[in-house]
């Protein structure tokens, strides 16, 4: 449910969706989108509520490294020459109603 909402929001913002759940071995990127001058890797995190933590807090250091590694593989496989951007889309709620938050450029690749 979360990823569908995220997709429609990204499309609403004028981005083109290239892939859903693109996998490279056991690494996965939820959504790969593209604008005129950037390629955007989106991690979608959905939670029922924020009693314990914000969804974005679930994107840990280890998770970031995995996303960056997968993105690197993606860029090399499809020979993309645009600069990369890493976004997080947070969705809080359930079928009754959900809030959606789009964090652009949520992180940069760490030192490997």
């Amino acid at each position: 449910m979360g990823e569908a909402m995220a997709t429609s929001m990204l499309v609403g913002k004028g981005l083109r969706i290239r892939n859903h759940n693109w996998r490279c071995g056991k690494l996965e990127i939820d959504i790969v989108a593209e604008s005129d001058d950037e390629i955007i890797f989106v991690e979608v995190k959905t939670r029922q509520n924020t009693y314990f933590a914000d969804p974005k807090d679930a994107v840990t250091d280890k998770k970031i490294r995995n996303i960056v590694r997968a993105a690197d593989a993606y860029i090399k496989e499809y020979e993309v020459d645009k600069p990369a951007r890493f976004d997080i889309v947070e969705i809080v709620g359930n079928d009754g109603g959900a809030e959606i938050d789009h964090i652009e450029g949520a992180f940069l690749p760490p030192l490997m």
């Binding site: 960056v68 993105a71 690197d72 860029i75 090399k76 890493f86 030192l111 490997m112």
Partner: protein, 513 residues
């Protein structure tokens, strides 16, 4: 695009070139290789923040950075600026055209301002010898680096200035220092002067002799008798630093990061007085990445050890070798470095645990054994390297209330400089020997032979005062300096007599009466 940025690593008191190669290609990983330590690795975070605050984008491409030579460990934060510029240039956000002509160093803070670094002077010397047109350093280090001529030194405050300079959008103003004029202007002004010392003529004279011959001194006296006060004024009567000496001393202070902001050359001899709780490493230098210690910071100046017996014995023993060799080599598993350490040792101590042994008015409460034990805390070999031992007695009230000024330092300094000139002439042909204190036995047999009267007096004194053989050649050395101050070719009995008076601790009677 592959870009090269030129930086430097400081090793010992010299710098060596470091080339930072940055390659940007398709991908999004970030690699930093070439043996960076953790402070260099952290620079990634600082650069990210500094660029975003200043409105530049950190490129998300595959960035591979190599710091070559890759086998030398790169430490410290001074690589932030060259790394940041390299990353931007490689992503073609900054023009790489001017880069090969400049060397750059600097630490970056999160808002992009450039913070001071250590070792700017040796880096500037390297930049000139490697033939770079200019050096870009933090503004606080610009004057220090500008001492080097034939090199344009640019002091910068913010990474934006560097970027617009490299893009050719704005020019930087080179820092110019008239080194000589400034150096000579600041050489004669001292905060402290011997004219402020009331009485104590004999101790002043002893310090004058010590300064003239480069002898090490120990002052023994009751608490509050003015030992530290006089030691602090010693640099004001030492011969002025030459430009060459100053450059060496400034280099050491630059590497240690101990130069005050905006200093160019150190114009006055350093005076270092470490507290007696100092550790061995702090004294001679060392650490995982060796840094200069107190003895190197005192290079060409004075190392003052207050309350000598309170120092850890091991700390005092490590002084022995540098006192002879005038440099210290620090060997660690990772590297071995050499720092110069040519200093004059000035020490002070109480005569006994209670402090009043031999005091004119107060009674000492120590037993002879205690006095002896206190003195024994200083090892023979170290005491052996101290030519002048002088007792210092508290100034009586009449003298203290006297408003007349003593002899000013400038007058004493003139006599010292004249005596040093005689010694320079004498040791012209000898390598590494500049003053009487450094005379070898061979030279003493030529230059320090007393006349017949003097010899008779010396013989008498040796027997009467029970002086040791060790004291014998110390006396001759000091007598040579006294004769030089006197302008006399031969060593006369009056010179010998004065020299004998500087061997207080050698008398076998010390502590037994």
């Amino acid at each position: 695009m592959l870009v090269k940025v030129y930086a430097a690593a400081v090793q010992g008191i010299d710098a060596m070139p470091v080339t930072i190669e940055v390659n940007c290609s398709r991908g999004c990983l970030f690699h930093l290789v070439g043996l960076p330590d953790s402070a260099v690795k952290e620079s990634h975070e600082r650069i990210k923040s500094a660029l975003s605050v200043n409105g530049y984008k950190f490129p998300t491409k595959e960035i591979i950075i190599n710091m070559s030579p890759a086998d030398v460990r790169k430490e410290g934060t001074a690589y932030d600026l060259p790394l940041a510029i390299g990353i931007l240039a490689s992503a073609e956000e900054v023009s790489a055209e001017r880069l090969p002509r400049f060397m750059l160093m600097g630490e970056i803070s999160l808002d992009g301002s450039v913070l001071p670094i250590k070792g700017a002077l040796p880096i500037a010397i390297l930049a000139r010898s490697e033939g770079y047109e200019g050096l870009i350093v933090p503004e606080q280090n610009a004057r220090e680096a500008a001492v080097v001529n034939n090199l344009q030194v640019f002091g910068v405050r913010n990474i934006r200035e560097v970027i617009s300079f490299l893009n050719g959008e704005a020019e930087l103003e080179p820092t110019v220092v008239d080194t000589r004029a400034e150096f000579y202007a600041r050489q004669a002004s001292f905060d402290l002067d011997f004219a402020e010392v009331k009485g104590q003529e004999s101790v002043k004279r002893a310090l004058e002799v010590a300064a003239a011959g480069g002898h090490n001194v120990i002052m023994v006296g009751a608490p509050g008798s003015g030992k530290s006060m006089m030691a602090k004024r010693l640099p004001s009567i030492l011969p002025p630093l030459s430009l060459g000496e100053s450059l060496e001393t400034t280099k050491i202070h630059s590497v240690a990061g101990k130069l005050p902001r905006g200093t160019s050359l150190i114009a006055q001899r350093p005076f270092r007085s470490p507290h007696h709780t100092i550790s061995q490493v702090a004294m001679v230098g060392g650490g995982t990445y060796p840094a200069p210690g107190e003895i190197s910071l005192a290079h060409n100046g004075v190392l003052f050890l207050d309350e000598l017996p309170e120092f850890n014995r091991a700390v005092l023993e490590v002084l022995r070798q540098p006192l002879e060799d005038r440099h210290i080599s620090i060997a660690r598993a990772k590297c071995s470095l050499d720092y110069p350490a040519s200093f004059m040792l000035v020490a002070s101590m109480n005569p006994c645990p209670c402090g009043y042994y031999n005091h004119p008015t107060k009674q000492c409460v120590c037993t002879p054994g205690q006095v002896q034990k206190y003195l024994n805390r200083i090892s023979g070999p170290l005491l052996d390297r101290i030519d002048i031992q002088v007792e210092i007695v508290p100034v009586p009230f009449e003298k203290m209330a006297d408003t007349r000024q003593g002899e000013p330092s400038a007058a004493i300094r003139e006599r010292v400089v004249a005596a040093r000139r005689v010694q320079e002439e004498r040791f012209k042909g000898e390598k590494g020997i500049y003053c009487n204190a450094q005379m070898t036995l061979r030279l003493m047999n030529i230059h320090a032979v007393p006349d017949a009267d003097g010899l008779r007096l010396l013989k008498n004194a040796m027997q009467r005062l029970n002086l040791s053989a060790r004291a014998y050649d110390r006396i001759l050395r000091v007598a040579r300096t006294i004769a030089d101050l006197d302008g006399s070719q031969s060593i006369k009995s009056s010179h010998i007599a004065e020299a004998i008076s500087y061997r207080n601790l050698d008398r076998a009677a010390w502590g037994n009466s």
